[in-house]
């Protein structure tokens, strides 16, 4: 889906944190190398049968959970021009779309959060 130069690799803290916490939260079991291509409709929070209104509740809950983990447990700062609401909105947009990939999500995380130790 992503038509940018963002790459899925272990040098990117956005990729590593996205993978580690989604896996740790039980969203999938994949190792890092195969997780980037996973799509949202393969993750635990996704439902093919729920209405979009209820699917959105699940997507927003996961977005909020990731945001709190990044900011509170990893001490990440929002990137310049980003805020909690804009970051949540961006994460939810990716999470609400079944064909978004985990790499797409990591790209969105990278655009909105500055992690400790991240090279800019």
């Amino acid at each position: 889906m992503a038509a940018t130069n963002f790459e899925w690799n272990t040098n990117s803290l956005a990729c590593v944190h996205t993978w580690a916490f989604l896996r740790g939260l039980g969203e999938f079991d994949n190792v890092f190398s195969t997780a980037g291509d996973l799509e949202m409709d393969e993750l635990a929070y996704w439902s093919d049968v729920a209405t979009p209104a209820l699917q959105n509740v699940s997507a927003r809950a996961l977005a909020a959970r990731l945001d709190r983990i990044f900011v509170k447990a990893l001490l990440a700062k929002y990137e310049q021009g980003s805020s909690r609401t804009s970051a949540l909105d961006a994460l939810t947009t990716v999470l609400a779309k079944g064909k978004s990939s985990v790499q797409d999500l990591a790209e969105t995380v990278d655009a909105n959060y500055n992690f400790r130790g991240e090279l800019k």
Binding site: A44, S47, A50, T51, P52, L54, R68, R84
Partner: protein, 394 residues
Amino acid sequence: MTPLRMTVAVVLIVAASPAYCAPEDARLPDARYLGTSPDIDVGGFIHNARSQPDVTNELLRDLYKSIALPRLFDGLDIQPKVFEVDTAGAAGGALGLAYKFSRALAFQEIGRFRNPLDLGLDVQANGNVAFSRNLNPADFLSTSASITARQFVSGLNDIAVAGAEVDSMTALEVAAANFDGAPAELEASPEWRAFKDRLSAVLAKAGTEILWQFGANAALESNQAFTTKQYAYGGAAGLAIRDWHTQGLFHIFDYPFAIVRVLSGAEPSFTPRGDACPSMLLGIDIVDPKDNKNRAVLSGGAKTYPRFRSELQTRARVAKIGDAIMWLDADWRVFQELGASDVIKNANQNVFSYFVATLEMGHGLLGSYANGRLPFDQQATSHWELGWQFKLGE
């Protein structure tokens, strides 16, 4: 009326995909099947798609990647379907699709709370469309807009960690990400186990996390031909709960699935999880059935009426085959008119209930069972779907 319908949800295929070289003996369907011709050989189509699921899914991936929809359609998911219906012994079939669309138009924090409170404006749509509309097993489309206040309540808002702790946790994550092996080997590796212990400590502080929301909405509900329509205005509340405690009340919902996981060998011991607690939506609407002729005939005019609606959904791991997780996904919707007249009750038009459950693994096998009816359906039906799924939309 046949109470049980067998449907097959498979695929739309474009054999003209340049990335695909079909085997000579593979009678895969070609681009003609994308049309709405009533002469489609659905039986052959299904047979060929089912006999080569890997090829089918590869084709669909190529098809998906070749389609670039305008940004307007961000948030659109389309699932092509083939309905194979056995009615009174006469087999037939029709192509169709299920669609979902969801977009947030605005999002703003309101007030200053320990657990932040937000206000959002959203639009959503979903439905099931069959090219032969009389073969649509769930002929109900809904398009809505809502303004909603929501709050994510989590113990994570209260935690304080030191920078050194974050650095050591990050080091464990990087080591685990660089691990070379299968998922089961990673699970047993010291780096993942150490990370998991640290994560468990964080999540123990998160406790029971709740996302709740409440708001107002307006919706257009119709059948796929738009010959029957009605408008609904009201309020709705939503709730999603995830319990991170080792054991707790909300783990009860996962007990049946935990038993199946043990029996299937997916897990060595009975380990119920706190993530199978159903998410729910509850709402009360005022329904204006001014373009619902059936309703007007029954009630002697298109009078507005109050309606309660609810939706419960859960998704749980049930087994593991190789590295692939098998999921059970279930959803139950109820629409009930409040204070319905005897005429409406006697016509069995006061309560509509629809249940659907699917069994799926990634983009592979799909098994689905649905029972009940949605508003506008005159009678309840049951149908099965077997096959593969794929979604379109950029």
